[in-house]
């Protein structure tokens, strides 16, 4: 009973943060800011979902798969975000006009 409530709570929290991530993807101005929403909220939200499934299922094959899914998401999401951000900057996708400082541009303008 308590396990079910706890598991469902984690699943709903996960869905809520996934929703915020998607909302951020729509509302924030440029690639880099959108990546922030996409990596943080969606990683946390999906981890919450999977953890809720683990609590509902307990220590069986299904639950363990959910746990391993969390580990792989935590490893893969930041790396993917880094790769996309770097590639975007190198192919000269401009930052939004609200940007206050760009140290990367300053150090890399001579190359290429």
């Amino acid at each position: 009973m308590i396990r079910e409530i706890l598991g469902m709570a984690f699943i709903y929290i996960g869905i809520a943060f996934d929703f915020f991530g998607v909302l951020g993807l729509v509302r924030l101005p440029d690639v880099y800011n959108r990546l922030q929403a996409a990596t943080k909220c969606v990683t946390f939200g999906t981890a919450g979902l999977l953890f809720g499934i683990f609590i509902l299922q307990g220590f069986n094959a299904f639950g363990f798969k959910a746990l391993i899914g969390i580990v792989f998401i935590f490893l893969a999401a930041p790396v993917a975000a880094h790769a996309i951000a770097r590639a975007a900057h190198r192919s000269r996708i401009p930052l939004t006009s609200e940007t206050v400082v760009d140290a990367y541009e300053k150090d890399h303008e001579i190359k290429e």
Binding site: G24, Y32, L35, T39, K40, F44, A61, V101
Partner: protein
């Protein structure tokens, strides 16, 4: 024991554990297949896992790693509420920019973990690393300090000392 051998054995144990977790343990066929695959993985790619000797004791490093994990989890929860607040707010009050921070860490693994942690915590996202100068370029959604020193303290300072204990 040589470093390469120890690294291979560690990789074998880890991959075999992951295999057991992914399949059900009851079937002996699955176990044999997992054993063979783990041995192959350990022989082909095992020597990349541990490359240098660490100065601290294993248990000390594990304790530091667990402490680091909980600190990281807490920072990550904060980060999520921060981004959620920015997204819900009607004006989207952001002040984005890319700043440069320096790191004292020397090991490659440590820097990788640091940059991944930076990506997953408050309003920051790693764009690129300069391994020679030990500089990390970070996209910050709400820039508070533009100079290298203060930015380093605010973004990387929380994790760095703990990671020193785990990896160096």
């Amino acid at each position: 024991m040589q470093i390469k051998t120890r690294s291979r054995i560690t990789v074998f144990i880890l991959s075999f554990l992951v295999w057991i977790a992914l399949t059900s343990v009851r079937d002996p066929q699955e176990l044999v297949a997992g054993f063979v695959v783990s041995v192959l993985v350990a022989l082909i790619a095992g020597h990349f896992f541990i490359t240098t000797e660490k100065s601290k004791h294993f248990l000390h490093r594990m304790a530091a790693a667990i402490l680091y994990f909980f600190k990281f989890l807490w920072e990550m929860v904060k980060a999520n509420f921060h981004v959620a607040y920015l997204v819900i707010h009607p004006n989207v009050p952001i002040r984005p920019g890319i700043v440069k921070i320096k790191t004292r860490l020397t090991k490659e693994t440590a820097i990788t973990v640091l940059t991944n942690s930076i990506t997953l915590t408050p309003g920051t996202l790693t764009v690129d690393i300069n391994p020679e100068k030990k500089e990390i370029y970070v996209h910050w959604i709400d820039v508070k300090f533009k100079d290298v020193k203060m930015a380093t303290k605010t973004i990387g300072g929380k994790f760095e000392s703990r990671l020193m204990e785990v990896f160096e």
